[in-house]
């Protein structure tokens, strides 16, 4: 099983993600945003960073990169597609996930660990976790505030597509404290916190591993 990790100009977490996937036994290849195919990968991760400088809107330009065509195809085929932080922003701009990420409520970049509750197992990101499990994960973003039209939010909640929620405090003002969500089929998922940054004891937390392991397990065709 291999995963394609997409690199846009301005992406900066790609090596961290490759390293973390390696820690859960998954091989990963870097794929350039102008490439036309994913090299036969079984799944895709869009990592964190500042694709295109976050200019215009975060993720707005990245969504039009050639690589997003095969990514969209892979998503339509029901294969696992994960967006972390900036990657989540790109997935929303590309319409692969609903809603959008806007500036944090307090208008400052937030870099600190936060508590995240698993609220649904219906995604490639959370299938191996337990509902109610609280994970300590780093949040590192300026535009982490999730917004969407009211009816969209209601629909997400009703169908258990909100898979991760901020627990105890809402650090960035996200609607319904949404920290991560999934597509209807559960194979496309996005989250603002960085699981790869909580994948080794020496870094302070290994709580991200259960999410990475979920993703890894989802790579095997059903």
């Amino acid at each position: 099983m291999t995963v394609a990790v997409v690199v846009f100009p301005g992406t900066n977490c790609e090596h961290d993600v490759v390293q973390a996937l390696d820690a859960v036994g998954v091989g990963a290849e870097l794929v350039w945003h102008r490439d036309e195919d994913l090299g036969g990968a079984d799944g895709v991760v869009l990592p964190g960073g500042f694709a295109h400088g976050d200019y215009l809107r975060t993720g707005a330009i990245a969504r039009f990169s050639p690589i997003m065509n095969p990514v969209t195809d892979l998503a339509a085929a029901g294969r696992p597609v994960l967006g972390i932080c900036n990657g989540f922003q790109v997935l929303c701009e590309a319409g692969l996930l609903p809603g959008a990420l806007v500036a944090n409520r307090d208008l400052q970049f937030i870099c600190r660990p936060v508590e995240i509750e698993v609220t649904s197992k219906k995604s490639v990101l959370t299938a191996a976790a337990h509902i109610g499990e609280v994970l300590r994960l780093p949040l590192n973003s300026y535009e982490g505030n999730y917004v969407a039209p009211v009816d969209e939010i209601d629909s997400l909640e009703a169908s258990h597509r909100v898979v991760l929620r901020y627990h105890g405090e809402n650090p960035n003002g996200s609607t319904h404290a949404i920290a991560g969500l999934a597509s209807a089929a559960g194979n496309v998922a996005g989250l603002m916190p960085h699981p790869e940054r909580a994948s080794e004891a020496v870094l302070g937390s290994t709580d991200g591993l259960v999410l990475l392991e979920s993703f890894a397990a989802s790579l095997v065709p059903a």
Partner: protein, 76 residues
């Protein structure tokens, strides 16, 4: 030809820059401020004879995010 595109956040959606700025203005004594909404202005220089529909399309496809933004176009 020149066009001015004005992009604004859809009503009812979170606008932290707007609310923070409103609070800041009132703290400075401008109590009359009821609300502040942030938007963006983009000025486009396009070839003469460009179909206005193309400018509209630019807005819909890239310049504005229809999930969270509205836009208007003004010829200059």
């Amino acid at each position: 030809m020149r066009y001015r595109v004005s992009i604004s956040r859809k009503e009812g959606l979170s606008d932290p820059e707007g609310s923070t700025t409103g609070t800041a203005l009132r703290d400075l004594g401008f109590d009359e401020v009821a609300s502040v909404a942030f938007g963006r202005t983009i000025v486009l220089d396009v070839a003469d004879g460009t179909d206005p529909g193309r400018v509209d399309e630019m807005c819909r496809r890239l310049l504005a995010n229809p999930v969270i933004e509205d836009f208007s176009v003004e010829e200059l």
